[in-house]
């Protein structure tokens, strides 16, 4: 029996992707290139994409890492960056020789497949984009090697140029060769901070020291010894209370003991967050593991996570507890007017008050509402806070604030971070211009079947016209295919 087709439903409107590979690998770091090589050597067709170099304006928006305005102007020159990046990324020549198709400057912004509430896709696809266009690629197996991103935390002065993340500094010092700072102060003393200090030192930067909120250095003893041997001091039991500076950003950082450290860059090396956006936006299963950096993907058939996006190396260190120690200290330094969400300019008091943005009037009863009153109605949900305050709703897609807001919510609600629903990730997981993400070659079926809303001819007939000759006229002119 032939099935009746609703002409305005999505049935058959997505064509099969023009290209497909046995394996698509996202991220050309060590884990990603290794996975691509292995697959190619086993005779599989392999596509390896890496979003670096990211466009200059994305670096300005702290996408994908927390660059904090300390990249040089070289990052605005995409040709030069592409060349630099190719030279500075290990194993790329080997990858090409093995027959892998390599695309740099190409981001993966979505993964789609049929599942609950979607059956319209022609198989599983990964959505890609470069500076010119976006397209879909089919795959048998997807390897996510997207790495980990920075965990920023707010304190007075954190939104000015010169406060940045450790992963961003590493990227600028190594693959991009485009770091603009000279003298760096590093927040943290666990392995990430120690490795950051050693890298900065090796690259000839002036390292002003490490500051540690806990009473003793937190990282591996051999790394601590190497840092000390390099003449870099680790100051324990202190934290920044304010970053001060001028038009070019940070000039010095005031510490909780009253001292002041001259530097042009404060590197937040408190923690890294596995980049699970692609898997999570797809609805793939995950779990929370405090020793592996937070939410990490679980085994998922055709999708494999490798490297730090699968979770940080488990050394027994409780990253989550450590981050809360920092949050408590830095949060104590914040005033009500300290900005938490930079994109949407949401202050700490706006956030805790669940207040709407400043362009809306705040009536007295609106002002009487708060996170505390909202929590009386149900358990905390970050997406709800996002809807009401706009925190995490901006151009950086929440990279600068989502993790710290989740932690603040857990503190305010007296609940475990792991128990909080993770704020939703949504495609595109990278900001992409309308004209780039647009499908300029869409199927004829899509074009012909497009309707603004459901395509039910009777729906828009004015009530007074129902059952009159006007109803027939309405159907004739607008039909079910209304482009309104």
């Amino acid at each position: 029996m032939t099935r009746t087709i609703d002409p305005h439903a999505i049935d058959g409107k997505f064509p099969a992707p023009a290209t497909r590979f046995d394996v698509v690998v996202v991220g050309a770091g060590r884990s990603g290139t290794a996975a691509a090589l292995t697959a190619a050597q086993a005779g599989q067709s392999v596509l390896l994409v890496d979003e670096n170099p990211v466009p200059g304006h994305q670096i300005g928006n702290d996408v994908p890492l927390y660059f904090g305005g300390r990249a040089t102007a070289a990052t605005q020159n995409s040709e030069r960056m592409l060349e630099t990046l190719f030279m500075n990324t290990p194993d790329l020549e080997a990858v090409i020789e093995a027959g892998v198709e390599l695309l740099l400057g190409t981001c993966a912004w979505g993964v789609y497949r049929n599942g609950p509430l979607v059956g319209s896709l022609p198989g599983q696809v990964v959505a890609l984009a470069d500076g010119e266009r976006s397209w879909l690629v089919g795959f048998d197996r997807l390897v996510l090697a997207t790495g980990a991103r920075d965990l920023p935390m707010a304190f007075p002065g954190w939104s000015q140029p010169g406060v940045m993340g450790a992963a961003a500094l590493k990227k600028l010092l190594t693959r991009y060769d485009a770091f603009a700072g000279k003298r760096v102060l590093i927040a943290g003393s666990h392995d990430l901070a120690l490795e950051t200090a050693l890298l900065a030192h090796a690259k000839g930067l002036d390292v002003a020291g490490l500051i540690e909120v806990r009473d003793a250095p937190q990282g591996a003893a051999d790394l601590v010894a190497q840092v000390e041997a390099a003449g870099i001091a680790i100051h324990c039991g202190v934290h920044p209370v304010e970053a001060k500076g001028g038009i070019d950003g940070v000039e010095r950082v005031i510490l909780s003991d009253g001292s002041s450290v001259d530097c042009d860059t404060l590197v937040m090396a408190i923690g890294l967050v596995p980049m699970i956006e692609l898997a999570d936006a797809l609805g793939s299963a995950r779990t929370f593991d405090a020793k592996r950096g937070g939410h990490i993907p679980l085994e998922d058939g055709a999708i494999t996570a490798v490297g730090s996006c699968a979770g940080l190396a488990d050394t027994g260190f409780d990253h989550s507890a450590y981050r809360f120690d920092w949050l408590n200290a830095l949060g104590g330094a914040c005033g009500g007017d300290t900005i938490i969400c930079q994109c949407e300019e949401v202050t700490l008091s706006d956030l805790l008050g669940v207040q709407p943005p400043r362009y809306l009037e705040r009536s007295p009863i609106m002002q009487a509402r708060s996170l505390k009153s909202l929590l009386e109605d149900g358990p905390p949900n970050q997406d709800q806070i996002k809807r009401l305050t706009r925190s995490g709703m901006g151009a950086c897609q929440g990279r600068r604030c989502r993790d710290q807001v989740a932690m603040m919510l857990a503190v305010e609600a007296g609940s475990e971070l792991a128990a909080l629903p993770l704020a939703t990730h949504r495609a595109p997981v990278r900001p992409l211009p309308l004209k780039i993400i647009a499908d300029w070659e869409e199927s004829e079926e899509m074009r012909a079947g497009w309707d603004v809303w459901m395509g039910i001819p009777t729906q828009w007939v004015p009530y007074a016209d129902i059952g009159t000759p006007y109803e027939e006229e309405n159907r004739r002119v607008l039909g079910g295919n209304m482009s309104l």
């Binding site: 999505i10 059956g119 901006g394 211009p433 993400i437 809303w453 459901m454 009530y463």
Partner: protein, 374 residues
């Protein structure tokens, strides 16, 4: 009838508004939601408030400009809309809509391309003209649903979240209590406005309501420079520029879906994001360089004719809005309140929105229409 204790099942925008209207009339209201209020279609839509086809239209138009004041919380309502064409076929359709509205006494002006570009600076040379609704507008769904909820609480109403209704207790043909995962809630009358789940809940009371659910998608960009009038759409899209400046648009093919009594287990978006982006870039070429920062999907229930049902059987009042629930919510809540407390809508005729129009509908009506999941 003097109902003193009402339970509203469903904390979407229709249930919230009904509960708020009932609380304004001084009755005791408890509202149950399966999760968080406004979490499904009510908080995922385009925010339009311009439903000229509805019998509730006049009440919708009367109320929206007052809602911030009535509720006490911001809804971001902004008046009027412009619909602009980039193809001759669209222009023809829009002109018909303008003519139809003017015939009905609802003013719509026809704009030439230059007039559109003056009002909509992001429009381009491809604009062929448009129409200007001198009514309607748009509001922020997230803020509006929360405003209803807070206003309901301010009037003494109770909201119980994460409490899906599981059954009803009846006596002599009347519902005496609603059972939920959080207890038994006694009532003199019940309102069921539970989106797609309205049908399965009514089935427990032997009331048959034909409904099918579909998934639809939207995208949003980073903020664009503010336009004088944010309610701008056309080119097969519905949507708006938010008061923050973001461009939020939806439209295009839907996907018929099925799920269990507890509602959708997922709300996945698809590569339709790309087709939406294309149409936004065509509609507003001045914004084509702006970044898309999110996409999302929502699940919407539809009746076979795509028109709402607002009706009553015994002490059970029910409502399903077929995808126009957000904009009409100030008025639908009023109508529901009237049905519950007075037995009939006091401000307009809604007879043609009655359930009886579907009496005797074939069991396989969804198959016949092709409204089945893939």
């Amino acid at each position: 009838m003097s109902a003193q204790k009402i339970v509203v099942v469903g904390g979407g925008v229709s249930g919230l508004s009904a509960a708020w209207w009932l609380a304004r009339s001084g009755v005791s209201v408890t509202l149950l939601d399966k999760g968080i209020i406004g979490w499904e279609a009510s908080g995922r839509n385009g925010g339009g408030c311009s439903h000229y086809q509805s019998p509730l239209f006049k009440e919708e138009q009367r109320l929206w400009p007052q809602m911030d004041e009535l509720l006490g919380y911001p809804t971001e309502f902004s008046p009027e809309r412009i619909v602009m064409a980039v193809t001759p076929r669209q222009l023809e359709q829009y002109h018909y809509i303008a003519q139809m509205n003017n015939r009905l006494g609802q003013r719509v002006d026809v704009l030439d391309p230059q007039q559109v570009r003056e009002a909509v600076p992001l429009a381009g040379d491809n604009c062929l003209g448009g129409i200007h609704y001198r009514f309607g507008g748009h509001a922020n769904p997230h803020r509006a649903v929360q405003a209803y909820a807070w206003a309901l609480q301010d009037l003494g109403g109770t909201i119980i979240q994460h409490a899906p209704a599981t059954g009803f207790r009846t006596s002599g043909g009347a519902v005496t209590a609603v059972e939920s995962t959080k207890g038994v809630h006694e009532c003199d009358a019940v309102v069921i406005a539970a989106g797609p789940q309205t049908s399965s809940l009514l089935a427990k009371l032997d009331i048959a309501m034909p409904l099918a659910a579909a998934r639809a998608e939207m995208i949003v960009t980073e903020p664009a420079p503010m336009m004088k009038l944010g309610g701008v759409d056309g080119n097969g899209l519905y949507g708006r520029q938010t008061l923050r400046g973001n461009l939020a648009y939806g439209g295009g093919p839907h996907e018929w879906v099925e799920f269990g009594e507890l509602g959708p287990s997922a709300r996945p978006a698809t590569p339709l994001t790309r087709n939406l982006a294309r149409r936004v870039a065509e509609l507003l070429p001045g914004a084509a360089h702006l970044n898309v920062i999110r996409s999302w999907a929502g699940v919407i229930e539809m009746t076979p004719d795509g028109r709402p049902i607002i009706d009553k059987r015994g002490n059970v009042t029910f409502c399903t809005m077929s995808g126009v629930g957000f904009g009409l919510s100030p008025a639908s809540g009023h109508a529901i309140r009237d049905l519950v407390l007075e037995g009939a809508c006091s401000f307009t005729d809604i007879d043609k929105l009655g359930l009886s129009r579907f009496e005797g509908i074939a069991d396989d009506w969804r198959t016949a229409k092709g409204w089945l999941p893939l």
